[in-house]
Amino acid sequence: MQRIGVFVCHCGTNIAGTVDVVAVAKALGQEPGVVFSTEYQYMCSESGQQLMRAAIREHKLTGVVVCSCSPRMHEATFRKAAALEGVNPYMVEIANIREHVSWIHKDMAEATEKAVILGRAAIAKVHLNAPLQAGESPVTKRALVIGGGIAGIQTALDIAEAGFEVDIVEKSPTIGGKMAQLDKTFPTLDCAACILTPKMVDAAQNEKINIFAYSELESVKGYIGNFKAQIRRKARFVDETKCTGCGICTEKCPQKKVPNEFNMGLDNRRAIYIPFAQAVPKVATIDANYCTMMKTGKCGICSKVCGTGAIDYTQKDTVIEREYGAIVVATGFNPIDAKVYNEYGYMDSPDVVTSLELERLMNAAGPTNGTLLRPSDKTHPHTIVFVQCVGSRCDETDERGKPYCSKICCMYTAKHAMLIREKYPDTDVYVFYIDVRTPGKNFDEFYRRAVEQYGVHYIKGQVGKVVEQNGKLHVQASDLLANEQLHIDADLVVLATAIEPDKTARSLGTMLTASMDTNDFFTEAHPKLRPVESPTAGIFLSGVCQGPKDIPETVSQASACAAKVIGVLAKDKLTCNPCVAHSDELLCNGCSSCEKVCPYGAISYSDKEFRGPNRTTLIRRVASVNPAVCQGCGACTVACPSGAMDLKGFSNKQIMAEVDAICK
């Protein structure tokens, strides 16, 4: 018989406000096996833990039930406290009476009754708990960073700084991501390339960092400390080791009509290209969809002009396999497709552009060499209208947009407006907004400067329609503060399109079994206390893949993420989850049902000798579980027809005892 102690937490008034904690402690004290029951203000506090430890010593407790907040919050805390007194940490159970009781029920009697029932279920479970020993697994001291934008680069640099190897896998031909496309950055107006490209070079030159550009993740297997990843290195048709990045091929290529994705399709590039001057690695890539040689077999000019013989039209994709201890997701974002918002005329007029397109139109390395010209007739726009929240902050009924605030648009629009007024003071700039949101260091000052110093017209209201008329864009909008309809003949309309997670995020999330929210942003393990970890152990989140962020926030999250990764890689051994499946060989009939459902291949079969009747020996085929590979899902326990397979920590008997206690 266990000697169980029950500890009911008040959590200040969080629990005690709606649950009569004294009554709960008293009621649970009557349960069989409970030798001690008390309640305390904050069980998780130092003094709360001391109280618990003293009770364990004094009453020689063998099991502990804590009625407190979610086990996802403080299970580890209480297990540690119990372990310090020599009680196996897996003899501790939590009854969640905060998130599942006090916070959702208002009626005290009802909440108290439910708390008692949940406490009883936990006590019933502890009666059947067995001490478990956590095993150990080795750690591969290398990290994988998926995505080579500013988030991925910063994380990789910080991990490499600590002395660990890092691989960056980037799907496009160069690292740099979205930040490389930006012109200036708010609120300091320093140029994005000037602060980003040195970091790209640092990453390339760091001997601990391997950059796999133009590569994609094929599959990931394993668990924290021991991931195996297959990486597809897409064929560039250029030998990376030979190409010097001189760019002659990109000048001589006769195929000139390929939309330049780096410039948002505002100009064209060749079929063989280097995305931009500071690309890392600076290696040319042949776009097989447009290359005349690849399509017709006739051309080969790039091969002829290449001084180092780097062109190889027969190159094939290669798949490499690498092992990692931790994986960082830094897949970033894309602006949503503005096509769906055709009331703004995006498809009808080239002079309706998105903010990222404007970024390229203003960039010195962009299609217009930094002079702001209308895409249609290459003239200076004199009236520019900015439309905010295109696809952001939409209500549930709007299927085209996103429910969240994209967070960066208010600030980059203020930046655009300011830069335009600075460079072209004869330009009228109108910004139509729902709200201007500028929380952040020096952000509101920046926005006010745009309004007060640069005279940008901020109008609260929404643009209803943009129609092309006689070479002008007729903007129909409402001014909500003046309560009037406005008609503006603009030369250029800029749409602040919402940002969304990269399209690959969803499939990557499935591959990594990392959970995501309804908008395809990766979910963090705890929204406040574990913001850079995924709930899946060994998977970490860096940058916008977790939620909209500006550059300073992305960089700080990237460094935080690196710190967490270093914490894993610095260990020689990791403790495994001891709640794994276990097969009772005497009951196993060797049917293989469990082996078929195991997603990890943790179950194997072997012939074993058993003692039969009359001193005979029987050889039977039985299952055994590799505890280092088993992740403890329990699929096998249900598939097992003979009841031989059971899950430690969540055994059939334990769960049934909980069911009984709840249904009593």
Partner: protein, 144 residues
Amino acid sequence: MQVNEYKPKIVAFCCNWCSYAGADGAGSARLAYPAEVKIIRVPCSCRVNPMFILRAFQRGADGVIIAGCHPGDCHYTSGNYFTRRRMALLFSMLDYLGIERERTRVEWISAAEGAKFSKTMSEFAATVASLGENKRLEDLRCKQ
């Protein structure tokens, strides 16, 4: 004065990674659902043995709901697909035994869907309450 107001007994099996976290989310956001719903934490929805459900009905439960990660999002890759198949079969068998379909349910609730958790549990509790007490499989010997 309230006299013997009928309160159904509902057991909710929630997977640790999605739905239990979703329930925590409902709690953090103070999204109420009926107190009749009592949650049992399991590592994965596929840990739920049909035995547990039979046991619950035997012990007098009026409804059983299993909540797991959305298909494709299972923390263990494929666990919820097993749940889906197993429960489809089990529920049709229970139906045959006279336990109405509405008393059993499988739902996919992610860690971010606290609102869905609360809404689902409220709806389920209301449905079960409208069906009244379940006596089909109840073993009176288990009654105290």
